[in-house]
């Protein structure tokens, strides 16, 4: 409980920083203006541009952090992340297809495609998860699904007629929460809420899975249902995050590891702190993307990968300890 409180305070700080700072530097007077005069340019920057963008980053980060924790618990693997079962790849591929087909400008089309792609992959994995209990089998199917999703994206690049469209797809795939408004957030609330509920329901099953499939199967919990809930929840969360912010790596991998030690490695108690940690990570990454001086704004996926890759190595280093045990 103290951890949740601490992380929530941290998230509050990260959100405040992210709204306060950006490309445009504001004076003390302008900050004051923003609060007392709702129509002022400063208010527009803070609450019309930065606040929705910040919320978007926080929500996508929370979704990824939670989905990552669920995947690691389900697959009993510290290196699992939301993309491991191919959900992100399919989501990205479907969104790329939507852009190439010229649907990018239609309201909700891109988001719908990203979510649809994630759900298609999620449904395939959920069917497999109900049938096959071994995590290794699921991971192998996931690798195949991810490869197929990646190949479809490559095919779209291959066949795409216009370099401008290609640039658009590439930029989108690299992840960003720039130019988001409140309506972009509103539609994502439902899939994220549903995904969160499914993951919370699966929590007790993830804890029991720490002792292996057979112990879990005889624990009295409805494991087949919990497994499907975990996959479906993670797919919804991943799909919603891809739809909101593009394909973003490392947050889903790193967030659970940052909090795991503080909850005695309990896979169920890792869930909520992972979500908050993911929100903090992506909010700060987006802030970095804006304030690092560069010709064009850095893409969010680039920033998380640049900072996430060394963290990934650290995680592997620590995981090696458990494999030796």
């Amino acid at each position: 409980m103290r951890l949740i409180l601490l992380l929530t305070l941290g998230l509050g700080g990260a959100l405040a920083l992210s709204v306060a700072f950006g490309e445009t530097t504001l004076s003390a007077g302008q900050y004051l203006d923003a609060f007392v005069r709702p129509g002022s340019p400063a208010a527009e920057i803070l609450f019309g541009i930065r606040a929705p963008r910040t919320c978007c980053a926080a929500m996508a980060g929370a979704a990824l952090g939670l989905a990552g924790a669920v995947m690691q618990g389900l697959l009993r693997n510290p290196l699992a992340e939301p993309g491991v079962l191919g959900v992100s790849a399919w989501s990205g591929s479907a969104a790329a297809l939507a852009i190439v087909l010229g649907l990018g400008a239609a309201p909700g089309a891109l988001e719908g495609a990203a979510l649809g792609g994630a759900l298609a992959a999620g449904a395939a994995v959920a069917l497999l998860a109900a049938r096959f209990r071994e995590p290794e089998t699921l991971i192998l199917f996931g690798v195949a699904l991810a490869a197929l999703g990646g190949a479809t994206t490559a095919l779209i690049f291959n066949l795409s007629p216009s370099p401008i469209t290609l640039a658009e797809v590439l930029a989108w795939l690299q992840g960003s929460v720039a130019n988001r408004d409140w309506s972009d957030l509103a539609w994502a609330v439902a899939p994220i809420a549903l995904g969160t509920a499914l993951c919370a329901y699966a929590g007790a099953g993830l804890r029991m899975l720490a002792l292996g499939d057979e112990t879990a199967a005889l624990s009295g919990l409805p494991m087949a249902r919990l497994r499907v809930a975990a996959v479906a929840g993670a797919a919804l969360l991943t799909g919603a995050s891809v739809a909101m912010a593009g394909v973003i790596g490392f947050v889903g991998l790193a967030a659970p590891h940052l909090v795991r030690g503080a909850v005695s490695d309990d896979p169920a108690r890792t869930l909520a702190p992972s979500a908050i940690a993911g929100a903090i990570l992506l909010t700060l990454a987006d802030l970095l993307a804006r304030v690092i001086p560069s010709e064009t704004e850095l893409r969010l996926g680039v920033v998380t990968a640049l900072f996430g890759a060394p963290l990934f190595a650290l995680v592997a280093w620590r995981a090696a300890r458990s494999w030796r045990a």
């Binding site: 009993r76 002792l211 112990t215 009295g220 490695d265």
Partner: protein, 257 residues
Amino acid sequence: MTAALELRGLSVRRGARTILSDISFSVAPGELLGIVGPNGAGKTTLLRAALGLQALSAGEVRLGGRPLPSIGERERAAMAGYLPQERRVAWNMPARDIAALGAAALAPRRSLAIAEACLAELEVGALARRGVFDMSGGERARVLLARLLATHAQLLVADEPAAGLDPEAQLLILERLRRRADDGAAVIVTSHDLTLAARACDRLAVLQDGRLRALAPPREALSPRVLAEVFALDGALIESTAGLTLAAGRAAERGAG
């Protein structure tokens, strides 16, 4: 008295291979049954089939007098607890959290209290807050057994609970399972240590190539003939000051010598 577990004509096939063939026996409350047999005889498959983890090709399993398929997941968990041979734990959870999973249906405070009592029973109470990755193999085996004891089920099934442990730990584990049987539970263990099994168990079921070769009190079940034909051992169970002891050597080697 209703048997805690009853197997009737149980057979298991995997593809064309027959793993278990026409096994029938029952275990009464208060009984400690040992299942012994060479590697590949079907011991683990028998336990898994008896608990519904393995599909049957023929036969029936009854738990507490009722057909297993008619018992729901939650009820089955209350009736039977299982300790698999595999001792891998995915995360570095503390001992008491792991033992508490045996009583997960109860309120957290109550299940933790039961977990700590069971850890103390297995003399690892001092490790309650230590993570399993930071324990020796023997300590981890006891923590996992504490999880089984915490279920307080009427049927406790443990696959090789003492394998790989030092002699004192092996005796402790069998003693504690014996105590659960004396308290009224039906307990089934598998073991490769015939001396240990003979001393602790009321009856031994000897499996050979998926068939029940003998089912009797230890001295009868492990007769010189069974030892020779099933285990390729030349010798006998003898009564020593510490209890039954296996005095035997490899049959083939002696024959050659």
